[in-house]
Symmetry: C2
Subunit: 140 residues, 2 copies
DNA sequence: AATATAAATGCTACACAATTGCATTAATAA
DNA sequence: TTATTAATGCAATTGTGTAGCATTTATATT
């Protein structure tokens, strides 16, 4: 409570304030996890990392709030259960996600954009998501 | 039971026999639904169409059998719950799926192939799935 | 046609992800 | 400091899918 605030904490507070979200410890800790992760994380990852400090519904509601505000985005890698990652500048455009068959982590590839495809007559494209499976750079 | 067999039923029987699956009424009816559908269908679609003639586990197991044999393929359109479609000749290659925001049906686009993407160094691609959202040709 | 065998089915229970209503508590504004 | 509003915890509930096991059925064999 009285310890000097780390820059990271300041960043998180600003992020919350800029989206008009109250600064609660659940949000601070969950957002901190998300910001510090190189890959997408699930409810279970959060639950494991934070113990049972927060109720399941709080965690899910927190993730939903972040997503509504655009702070994070959801990734469905087909393993049942949604994963999330912070949306960084380069990743605002629709980017590819990569699921490693070996370590089963799912990564944002913010610089790998989804190519345009031409749908058949009558199909109007709004947006698209591309999931790649394979071996990630840490496993190959 | 004694009515003349329709050609469609013969097709279905042959399909089952060619994959060494026993001809049961669950399989006949579920495969008939799948063959007759222009879009992917879910467990719930099957359950609605067939009433409670078949147990939930039978339906799921039937779908899993069909998928293992390659008769159908699974599509995850992010709505929670897997959908299935018969794999037709043109669709054996990885093709795009289209989820309509209006009618919320999900379609195979067997002629729209998934473009190759170049992943960052170290990421080895095995396969990929591309889901497009928008308005389908029946809704536009 | 009767029988044997292996597979499919129905039932029940369970697993897991996620959501909801509601009373309580905490964060911010005034 | 108080009032207001939003967030939280808890318990129950929903939704999707799986699993064990006794029973039934499809098919091959006699
Ligand atoms: Mn991403
Ligand atoms: Mn398809
Ligand atoms: Zn990996
Ligand atoms: Zn439509």
């Amino acid at each position: 409570m009285s310890a000097a605030m780390t820059p990271v904490n300041k960043d998180i507070e600003n992020l919350l304030r800029s989206h008009r979200l109250k600064r609660t410890s659940a949000r601070m800790e969950i957002l901190s996890l998300l910001l510090g992760s190189s890959h997408t994380i699930s409810y279970n990852d959060i639950s494991d990392a934070l113990g049972d400090n927060f109720d399941k519904s709080t965690v899910y509601r927190t993730l939903n709030s972040f997503e509504e505000k655009g702070i994070i985005h959801a990734v469905n890698d087909g393993t049942g259960g949604i994963k999330y990652a912070v949306t960084r500048e380069e990743g605002r455009e629709a980017h590819v996600h990569f699921k490693c068959d070996n370590c089963s982590q799912t990564y944002c590839l913010p610089d790998t954009k989804i190519p345009n495809v031409k749908a058949p007559r009558g199909f109007v494209i709004k947006n698209s998501s591309l999931l790649i499976n394979g071996t990630c750079k840490y496993c190959s």
